[in-house]
C-alpha cells in the first residue's frame, strides 16, 4: 500500500494505482475526458491535470501512478486556469450545435464546460462544419463534434479487439475514421457510442428521437444470450427508444454487444400478436380471451379423456421467465397430468448438463463469466464465443491481453483465433478426436498425476480409448499438425491455472454431449476442478428454464414429441418457434399438421404459429416482471418497463387463467405467489456431492459427405443475431438480414459460384436458396451458414441428434442460373 495525500486528505491505495483512481476511490472528483477504466491510460485530453507538491510541471492524474508521500492537489487556481484553457481550446472549433445534438443533456463536454468554462472565449475561429458520416448502419460519425479523446478508437481496438476506427491525419486536422475513410464495417456493438464523451458518435436508430432530459431510464436484463447483461433502457412516452450500458452495472459491468444495444426493437415488430386467435374453417380469426381459453379447455379435456393425458405435450422456452416456465410445468403436471415437457435445450444445454452430471456428479455446472481472467492457459474448442456470448468473449480477450496463453482450435477464423497465442486450424466436427489427442499427448509425456487420476472411476477404459489417438492419427482426422497438438497439450498441462471452454448451442451442429464428455475427461485428467470447464448456457433463460423443470421427467422429450408424428394429440408451445428454429423442419411440420390441438403462445406471428389451432398473445420481456437466470446461474430480476401490447399478457398469467378456466385452482393469484413457490423449490434442491468419473468417447463424424452430397454444412451464429427472435429487430436487420452461405474460394471455383450470387443448397432433407459469400477464411469441403432467419429455412437441411454426436450435414451446392 502507498500512503499519500490528496487535497489534505491522507489516503492509502495499492501500489501502481494512478492518482485519478486513488482520488476516485476516495470520492474526490477530477474532471476527465479520455479516461475509461477498461482502457490503458492515454493522457490525451489533459483535463485531469493535478499539482504535485515540489514538482513544477502539472501531472495528468489518469496516467501518473501514486508515489509514497506524494502530496497532490486537485483543485487550485492554477489547475482551474489550466483546465479552463484546455476546455477553451476544445470549444474553439466545436460546432456548438447542441440544439440539434442527441448528446446534449448528457454530454461530458457540456458538463465540464458548465463546471469550468468561461462565458466567452478569447479566440474566434471557424467552427468545424463537415457533414456527418451517415453511410454505415447503426452508427453515425460526426467528426465536427469529436474532441479526439480517442476513447472510441481504443475501446474498439483494445477492449473489443476489433480496431475498426483509427486516427487519420496529424495535428489539428486529425480525424477519427474507419480505415481509409471507408464505410464503418465492424461488430456494431455500439460501445463507441456509449463511451463517446460528445455527440461525435451516435446511435442512428435513436437519432432525433428524444432529448436526453425527456428520457426516463429504466433497467432490466437483456433478453438475448446467456450473459445476462443489464440494459439501461431510455423511454419516452412509454416507448423504449434506446438501450445502453452503464459503467460497472450488472454482470457485464456496463459492456453491451450490438444485440443488447440495438436489438430491443423486436418488441415493436409489426407482427406482434395483439389478440387471441382461433382457427375457424382453416383460418385464424381474432377471438376474445374467454373464447380462446374456453376453446382450449374444451379441446384439452376432450383429448385427455379420449387418449389419456400422455397424449398432451408442452414446450417451454429460454425466452420466457422462470415464472412463466414454472407455471407451464405446474400446469402440465397439475392440470393436464403429463410429463411430456421439453425445450430447445434438448439440442444443447440438456446435453451439457447430463454429460457433466455423469462426469462430475453435479446437478448444475458452475459457470463464471469472469473465469478466463488470470488463467495461465485458456483452451477454446471449436466455439465462436465472442459471437454466442460476447461478454464472456471479451473476458477471454482481456485475459489474453493480460498475459494468458490462448489456444483456439477451430475450423473457421474467428475473433478469438485472430487474437490467439496459437490457432490450431481444425476440420469441422473433430473436437472429440482433438481432445482425445491432447489427452493422449499429456499421458504420453506423463504430465498428469497418474497415482491419483488412475483411481478415478472409468480410468482403465478411458486410457484404452484414448490410446488410439496418437498425434499422427489425430492429425489425420483433425488436420492439425501433430506437433501443434503436442505443444498445445504441454502448454495446457504445464500451466498453473487453466480454463477450457466451448459452447454447445442448439444452433450449432459440430458438437454434442460427446464433446462435453471429452472436455470433461481432459479436466479430470489434469486434476482440475469442474470450474475449469466453462460451457455457458446459450440464451437469456436457458439455465432458468432448465432449473424450473422444463425437461422430460418420465415423459416424452422433444425428439419424441416433434419428430415422431402421431406420438401426441395436443401440443402447447410457449415462446418457441420450432418450425423456424429446430432442425429438420419438414418433419416438424408433418408432426404439427397431424395434431388435433396445437396451442401456440408467443409474442408474434411465427412460422409455427401459422399451424396453430389457437394462438395466445404473450407479453414480451420488456412488458412484464419476472426472473431470468443467466449462464452463471445468477437469478436477475426482470422489470416491466413498458405496457403490454394489445391484449397480450405475461405467459404465467395466461397459464394461470387457463388453469382457472379449466376448473383447477392452482393457488396462484399473482406473480408473488409464483416467486414464493419457486423460492421454496430452489431451496429444497441442494447440489449433490460431486463424484467424478471418466466417460471415454470416440470420435464420430456427422453426416459424412459422399459423391452426391460432397460438402459439409456447418451452422453457426451471426454476431448481430440471437436465435430467431432478433430477426424481428429492424435495427439488427440493417446489419445482417438474411442467411448467407459462406463458401471457400476453392469450392466456389469448383461449383461455379461467385460472391453474392444465389446458391441452391440441397441435403437429403430439403432444398433452400441462399446468397453466397465467398471467403478465403473458409476451408474447402465445408460451407457455413446460420439458422437465425425464418425465411432462410436453413433448418430444412439439418437434422437433430439424440445421441450426442455432431450433426454436420452433407449438402451439395449449385449455382442458380439467371
Amino acid at each position: 500500500m502507498v500512503e499519500l495525500t490528496i487535497n489534505d486528505k491522507a489516503i492509502s491505495v495499492e501500489e501502481g494505482t494512478t492518482i485519478l483512481k486513488a482520488a476516485q476511490q476516495n470520492g474526490i472528483h477530477i474532471p476527465n475526458m479520455c479516461y475509461d477504466k477498461r482502457l490503458r491510460p492515454y493522457g490525451g485530453c489533459r483535463l485531469c491535470v493535478v499539482e504535485v507538491e515540489k514538482q513544477p510541471r502539472l501531472f495528468a492524474s489518469c496516467s501518473t501512478p501514486v508515489a509514497p508521500g506524494m502530496v497532490v492537489k486537485t483543485e487550485t487556481p492554477k489547475l482551474r486556469k489550466a483546465r479552463q484553457t484546455v476546455l477553451e481550446l476544445l470549444l474553439i472549433h466545436h460546432p456548438l450545435d447542441c440544439p440539434i445534438c442527441d448528446k446534449a443533456g448528457e454530454c461530458d463536454l457540456q458538463d465540464i464546460a458548465y463546471e469550468y468554462g468561461k462565458p466567452e472565449g478569447r479566440f474566434v475561429r471557424h467552427r468545424k462544419a463537415a457533414p456527418p458520416d451517415v453511410r454505415g448502419p447503426l452508427v453515425e460519425l460526426t467528426a465536427n463534434r469529436c474532441i479526439l479523446c480517442g476513447k472510441c478508437v481504443r475501446i474498439c481496438a483494445e477492449h473489443q479487439s476489433r480496431g475498426a476506427l483509427g486516427f487519420i491525419g496529424r495535428g489539428f486536422p486529425t480525424v477519427v475514421q474507419p480505415a481509409f475513410g471507408e464505410i464503418l464495417e465492424c461488430d456494431y456493438c455500439g460501445q463507441c457510442i456509449d463511451i463517446c464523451p460528445t455527440g461525435a458518435l451516435l446511435s442512428k436508430p435513436f437519432k432525433f428521437q428524444a432529448r436526453a432530459w425527456f428520457l426516463e431510464e429504466k433497467e432490466t436484463v437483456c433478453s438475448f444470450c446467456g450473459c445476462g447483461c443489464t440494459l439501461t433502457l431510455g423511454l419516452r412516452e412509454g416507448k423504449i427508444l434506446r438501450s445502453r450500458g452503464k459503467e460497472d452495472n450488472g454482470r457485464s459491468e456496463g459492456n453491451l454487444c450490438g444485440r443488447g444495444r440495438f436489438g430491443f426493437d423486436y418488441i415493436y415488430s409489426e407482427n406482434r400478436l395483439k389478440t387471441p386467435m382461433i382457427r375457424k374453417e382453416g383460418v385464424l380469426v381474432p377471438a376474445s380471451w374467454d373464447e380462446a381459453l374456453s376453446y382450449i379447455s374444451d379441446r384439452l379435456k376432450f383429448i385427455t379423456n379420449s387418449y389419456g393425458s400422455s397424449s398432451v405435450g408442452a414446450i417451454g422456452s429460454h425466452r420466457c421467465t422462470n415464472e412463466d416456465n414454472y407455471m407451464l410445468k405446474k400446469f402440465m403436471a397439475g392440470v393436464v397430468g403429463s410429463g411430456n415437457l421439453d425445450s430447445a435445450a434438448a439440442f444443447g444445454y440438456t446435453k451439457v448438463q447430463s454429460a457433466l452430471g455423469k462426469a462430475f456428479g453435479l446437478e448444475t455446472h458452475p459457470i463464471d463469466l469472469k473465469a478466463p481472467l488470470g488463467k495461465e492457459a485458456i483452451l477454446v474448442v471449436e466455439s465462436d464465443i465472442s459471437v454466442t456470448h460476447p461478454v464472456f468473449g471479451l473476458n477471454i480477450l482481456q485475459a489474453k491481453r493480460e498475459g494468458s496463453r490462448l489456444i483456439v482450435a477451430d475450423s473457421k477464423e474467428t475473433k478469438l483465433t485472430r487474437h490467439s497465442t496459437a490457432y490450431l486450424k481444425m476440420k469441422r466436427g473433430t473436437s472429440v478426436a482433438f481432445l482425445n489427442g491432447l489427452m493422449k499427448a499429456i499421458m504420453d509425456k506423463g504430465l498428469y498425476d497418474r497415482e491419483t487420476i488412475s483411481g478415478v472411476e472409468g480410468f482403465a477404459e478411458f486410457e484404452k480409448t484414448v490410446a488410439d489417438y496418437t498425434p499422427e492419427k489425430v492429425s489425420e482426422i483433425t488436420g492439425i499438425p501433430g506437433d501443434e497438438i503436442v505443444a498445445a497439450a504441454e502448454a495446457l498441462a504445464k500451466a498453473k491455472s487453466r480454463m477450457i471452454s466451448l459452447t454447445v448451442n442448439h444452433t450449432e451442429n459440430t458438437k454434442g454431449s460427446d464433446t462435453v464428455l471429452a472436455a470433461a475427461n481432459l479436466v479430470i485428467l489434469l486434476g482440475e476442478e469442474a470450474e475449469a470447464l466453462q460451457i455457458p448456457a446459450d440464451y437469456a433463460n436457458t439455465f432458468g428454464a432448465y432449473e424450473m423443470g422444463i425437461r422430460p421427467e418420465g415423459g416424452k422429450d422433444l425428439f419424441d414429441m416433434l419428430y415422431q408424428p402421431g406420438s401426441l394429440h395436443a401440443l402447447y408451445i410457449m415462446g418457441e418457434d420450432p418450425v423456424s428454429a429446430f432442425p429438420y423442419n419438414s418433419k416438424i411440420i408433418h408432426t404439427l399438421k397431424a395434431l388435433e390441438l396445437l396451442i401456440v403462445q408467443d409474442i408474434a406471428m411465427t412460422e409455427t404459429a401459422k399451424y396453430a389451432h389457437v394462438l395466445l398473445p404473450a407479453s414480451s420481456w420488456a412488458e412484464k416482471d419476472g426472473t431470468f437466470v443467466n449462464a452463471e446461474g445468477v437469478a436477475q430480476k426482470l422489470n416491466k418497463v413498458v405496457e403490454t401490447t394489445g391484449q397480450s399478457m405475461p405467459d404465467w398469467q395466461i397459464i394461470r387463467n387457463l388453469s382457472l378456466v379449466m376448473g383447477s385452482d392452482i393457488s396462484i393469484r399473482n406473480i408473488g405467489d409464483v416467486s414464493e413457490e419457486i423460492a421454496a423449490m430452489v431451496k429444497a434442491e441442494g447440489q449433490p456431492e460431486g463424484k467424478r468419473a471418466f466417460q471415454p468417447v470416440a470420435h464420430s463424424e456427422g453426416e459424412e459427405p459422399d459423391a452426391e452430397y460432397p460438402l459439409s454444412l456447418v451452422t453457426r451464429d451471426v454476431l448481430q443475431h440471437s436465435g430467431t427472435m432478433s430477426t424481428r429487430s429492424k435495427a439488427l436487420d440493417l446489419v445482417v438480414s438474411e442467411a448467407f452461405l459462406e463458401v471457400g474460394e476453392d469450392d466456389a471455383k469448383k461449383f461455379g459460384i461467385s460472391d453474392s450470387s444465389h446458391v441452391k443448397v440441397t441435403s437429403k432433407r430439403g432444398t433452400v436458396y441462399l446468397k453466397a459469400k465467398v471467403s478465403d477464411e473458409i476451408p474447402s469441403g465445408t460451407v457455413f451458414t446460420s439458422s437465425h432467419f425464418p425465411h432462410g429455412r436453413v433448418n430444412a437441411l439439418t437434422f437433430p441428434s439424440e445421441n450426442g454426436t455432431p450433426v454436420t450435414t452433407a449438402v451439395k451446392i449449385e449455382a442458380v442460373q439467371g
Binding site: 484546455v86 472549433h93 495535428g171 489539428f172
Partner: protein
Amino acid sequence: MEKFRANLMLCAGTGCVASGTMKVKDALQEELKKKGLADEIKIVLTGCNGYCAEGPVMSVYPDEVFYQKLTVEEIPKLVEEHFLKGRPYEKLMFREPEKKTAIPLMKEIPFFKHQVLRVLRNKGLIDPEKIEEYISRDGYQAAARALTAMTPEEIIKTVKDSGVRGRGGAGFPTGLKWEFASKVKSDVKYMLCNGDEGDPGAFMDRSVMEADPHSVIEGMIIGAKAIGAHNGYIYVRAEYPLAVKRLQMAIDQATEMGLLGKNILDTGFDFELGIYLGAGAFVCGEETALMRSIEGKRGMPRPRPPFPAVKGLWDKPSVLNNVETLAQIAPIILNGSDWYRSLGTEKSAGTKVFALTGAVNNVGLVEVPMGIPLRRIIYDIGGGIRKGRTFKAVQLGGPSGGCIPEHLLDTPVTYEDIVATGAIVGSGGMVVMDDNTCMVGTARFFLEFTADESCGKCTPCRVGTKILLDMLTDITEGNGKEGDIETLQDLAKDILTTSLCGLGQTAPNPVLTTIKYFRDEYESHIHDKWCKAGVCRNLTTFVIDEELCKGCGACLRACPSKAIIGEKKQPHKIIQEVCVHCRTCYEACKFKSIKIMPAGYDAGSPEKAEEVKTGAPEGGTAKGEA
C-alpha cells in the same frame, strides 16, 4: 596494402555532393590518370567534412592542405600545380574575408581552428564505407574492451562519471539512463538509436551517420552490454538515404567481422542490430512515439511513467540514445571519464556538435567544447555575419528552442545557462539571424512547423499550437490587436504546463523568447502596423530617401514589378500602387536610401519626408491610416 604518396580526402557528404563532388571526383581521376599519377595519389570519398558552405571541399594528406569550392574547370591546374610541381594551388585555398591572404592548412583556418573533434573525430579522414579504415583509427577497441574486460557496472560507472548527457536535446545523463535499464529484470531488452533528426536546419546526426557510421554502432554495442540487451534498432528517417545506406553497409561489415550478431568476438555476447526507417514525422523523435513507430503503430507519445527503461519497445525495457551521444561512447571507454571531463563544464562535460546556419559567413558543422560562449561560435568559427550586416538573434534548439539576442551572446553553451535564456541547447541546430529578420515571422515559422508536426493526441498541443500559429499569422498580416501579446504569452504558458510530451511542452518557446527579447517588434507589428525588418508585406511601405539616393538605378533594375521610376543620377521614387513589398530594392541599394516605413505610410507630405530621414514615425499616426 598499397602505398600512396598522397591521399585526397574529397568530401562526399550530402552538402558537397549537392555542390558537385562527384563531377569533381571524375575530373580528378581523369586528370591524375592523364598525368600518370593514378598509382601515386589516391582519392578517398569521405563523409561530411562540416565546412559545407565552401563545398566541394578536399584536404590533401599528408600535407594537410585544404581546398574549397572545387570546380571541374580548375582540376587540371590544381593537379599540375600541387601534384606535379609540388606547389599548393592558392586559388582554391581559403582566404579570410578582410585580409585576402590564402591560408593553406586546414588546422589554421578559423572555422577549424577553434573546433575540438571528438564526435567528429574521423570526419574527412576515413572512407565511411570501409570498416578497416574505422578500425585503423582505434575503432572497435572500446567495444572489445567493454565486452572482454568490463562488467556492465564498470561500463555504466565510466559513462556516469564522464558526465556525458543525452545530445538529443533534453540532456538527460546517459549513464543514469543505462543504469535504470540495467537494473530492470527482463529476458528481452532493446538498445535503440535515435537517428530521426527532424529540427529544421539541423544535420549533425546525418553527418555522423554518413561520415562515421561505425562510431554509432560501436556505441550501441557498448550500451547493449551495459544494459543487457541483445537486440537493437537504429531509427533513421527515410529522407536520409545515404545515411541508411552507409549504416546498413556498416552493420553488414561489422556482422561479417563478428562484431555484431551472435557470440561477438567469442565473448558469448549477442547483439543483433537492425535499421528501421521513419516516415518523417517530427514527433517520432520523441522516444515513446519512436518506439510505437517501430512497433508499426501510429507514432504517438505515451504518458510516462512507465518509463522506457521499464516498459519501452514492445513493453520491454529499452534505452534510446541519440546518434551523437552514442558516437562519444567509444572514446569515453578508451580514454576514461577524466579525459572526457577535461573539456566542458562541471555539469555539461565534453563537446557538442552544432549545425551552424543562417546569416553567418561560415555555414557548416562545428564541434566545440561545452561552455564556450555563443559569441565565439558565431564570430570566431562562423566568421561573423554575412554581408557586413548586424547580428540580431541566434536560434538554438530548433522548434523547441528559442531566440537569444545580442546582449546574451556571451552566454556559455551549457545546458543550464542556455535554458536560463529561455532557449535550449537542443540537438544542435544553431540558426543565426541578422537585422533583416522579422522576429514575429521567425516565431511564426517555427509554430507553423510544430502545429503541422503535432501528432494530435493531446489538446493543448493539437489545438494550442494551431491557435498560436493563427494569432501570429494575424499579427504578421496586420490583423493583430490590443492584448494579443498577453494572450499569446498566457496561452503559451498553459500549453507548456499541460502538454503530454516534449513537443508540446517546448513548442511555445520560440513565441515566448521572441516576446521576451523582441517585444518591441510585436508591438510595432500590432500598434504601428510596421514590420521594421521589411518582411511582413502587409506591414511595410518602401520609400526612397531622396537625399540619400544617388540615382544609380540599381533598385530600378532590380524591381520585379517595375514600381520604381527615376532618371539617371536623379533621386528615384517608388510608386506605392505598384510596389509588391518584395524588398528587392532594399537589398539592391548600396546607399541605404530605401527606408522601410509602416503600412499605409504616406510618403508625399513634407513631415513624412522628415520621418523617413529619422526613420521613425510618431506613435500611432500610421495606425490610423492602416
